[in-house]
Amino acid sequence: MLEARRTVQALAALIRVSVATAMQYRSNLLFGLATALLVDAMRVAPLLLVYGQREQVAGWELPHALLVTAFFFLLFGVQAAVLEPNLGEAVQAVRSGALDLMLMKPVDAQLLVSLRKVDASSLFPVVSALLVGGVALGMTELPGPVDVLLAVALFGSGVVSLYCLWLLAICVSFWFVRVDNLRFLLWSATDAGRWPIDVFRGPVRWILTAVVPVALITSFPAQALRGAWDVELLGTSAAVSAAFLLGSRWAWRRSLAAYASASS
């Protein structure tokens, strides 16, 4: 209990420092917001092209596809602001041996290593997500409270899986020094989350649900918001994120056991 509280306090302090750092460069922040909004607008454009020609694509209508895009922007923000910077920091710590110091602190080392930094200036896609999501919800009838709760839970479970995937990348860095490229691979794989999962077929669909679990984060919550959730959907999400949690925790332990510090 004490350790949990300490961990939360430590993480909160680290995040406060990160945000304060970003706030020092206010004109950068404004410029970043402007570019992010414009680039995101261009990301939505293909959907408008598609739905200019068709009422429905793979069973999804425009507002629901826009909801998927909104969740995709959220994913984008989380990935750019939290997951990616920490991978960089962690790899650096493994390489330089700074990890020794983190291991000695009285908090959970995995969380300390993987959640120590937030790049607040990368959180702009969240603004785009709110805009697109707002427009999408305005085009349909509002979802009921149960649907909203489920959507939040599904999104959370998806984010946990994605966090675990990035943690696995950190684990890889214990053996291979150059994991920079892994980062780009993860980014381009998660790009597939921008469309409703039903446009993908066969093994790709399975991969995007269980291996690079972007469908869990974007399509599943959107599915819940349109009231089209069922037991299978909830079960899949829970099973995949549980498997990711257990698997990545196991990999983290194995990696730590193999860690020989940079100085020894």
Partner: protein
């Protein structure tokens, strides 16, 4: 004249560099999944009924060609040159008798054979899996394809050179380039065949530089171009190349004049 004599050697050095980092090159190529992600969406759209002459076969062929042309025309000059300007390592390169931009150009071109070695098996596998995709374009189209794809590469190189030169004045060049890149993705045919845009937008799309950077060679390769459109495209490409050269030249000379390299 220095340049012509040194070119084979520059090429050899660059090629050795590419071979040394071949694994990295493979990952870079694997990260360009965007055409495949777009293919999934458009495939779902044209699956029910063909659209603008695109059925499932044509749309797959289109995005396979996009993947190929994108690989043939991409460069990473912006990041390299930005780094050189920021850190001041450009000073050293300026001392050499060759223009740094030419050396970079040779660098990027030297990577082409390796890209082909990675790409060709992928394309062959695709054709083996779906033989109907293979439709050899007419001889004239293949002949025009070579200058067209070269000009597309050159345009991309010049654009990155121009944005990189802005680093002599600004710090935010990559944010600005993100804007350009967003517009490029949408208007070059990377996210959707340009035919899918509304009729009213077509004349504008034809004269903007983006079409010549991707869609023009892609349409030659997929047999969608006519001799007339191909000629117009070539003309527009040449026009923009001249503009690009002029802009880069002006920016480079003025930038160098005020370049007080760090530590120089």
């Amino acid at each position: 004249m220095h340049l012509l004599r040194a070119l084979p050697d520059i090429f050899r050095v660059s090629f050795a560099g590419v071979v040394a980092y071949r694994a990295e090159m493979v990952i870079w190529i694997l990260t360009s999944t965007m055409p495949l992600i777009m293919l999934a969406l458009w495939n779902a759209v044209v699956d029910e009924a063909p659209l603008m002459g695109f059925g499932p076969t044509e749309i797959t062929r289109y995005f396979a060609a996009t993947l190929l042309v994108r690989q043939l025309t991409s460069s990473w000059l912006l990041w390299e040159l930005n780094e050189e300007i920021r850190t001041g390592s450009l000073s050293m390169k300026l001392l050499r008798p060759m223009h740094p931009l030419w050396v970079h150009a040779a660098d990027m071109l030297a990577a082409m054979p390796t890209r082909m070695v990675v790409l060709l098996p992928m394309l062959l596998a695709l054709v083996a899996w779906r033989p109907e995709l293979l439709a050899l374009p007419d001889a004239w189209a293949l002949a025009v394809f070579l200058p067209s794809v070269f000009l597309a590469w050159l345009l991309g190189f010049l654009v990155q050179a121009a944005f990189a030169c802005l680093a002599f004045w600004l710090e935010q060049t990559q944010g600005l380039f993100a804007l350009w890149f967003g517009a490029w993705m949408l208007l070059s045919g990377y996210l959707a065949p340009l035919e899918m845009f509304p009729e009213a937008a077509q004349p504008l799309l034809g004269v903007l530089p983006f079409r010549g950077m991707l869609a023009a060679p892609v349409e030659l390769l997929t047999g969608r171009a006519t001799p007339q459109t191909a000629l117009v495209d070539l003309g527009v490409q040449l026009g923009w190349t001249v503009v690009g050269f002029a802009v880069v030249r002006a920016l480079w000379n003025r930038g160098l004049a005020r370049y007080g390299a760090y530590g120089a």
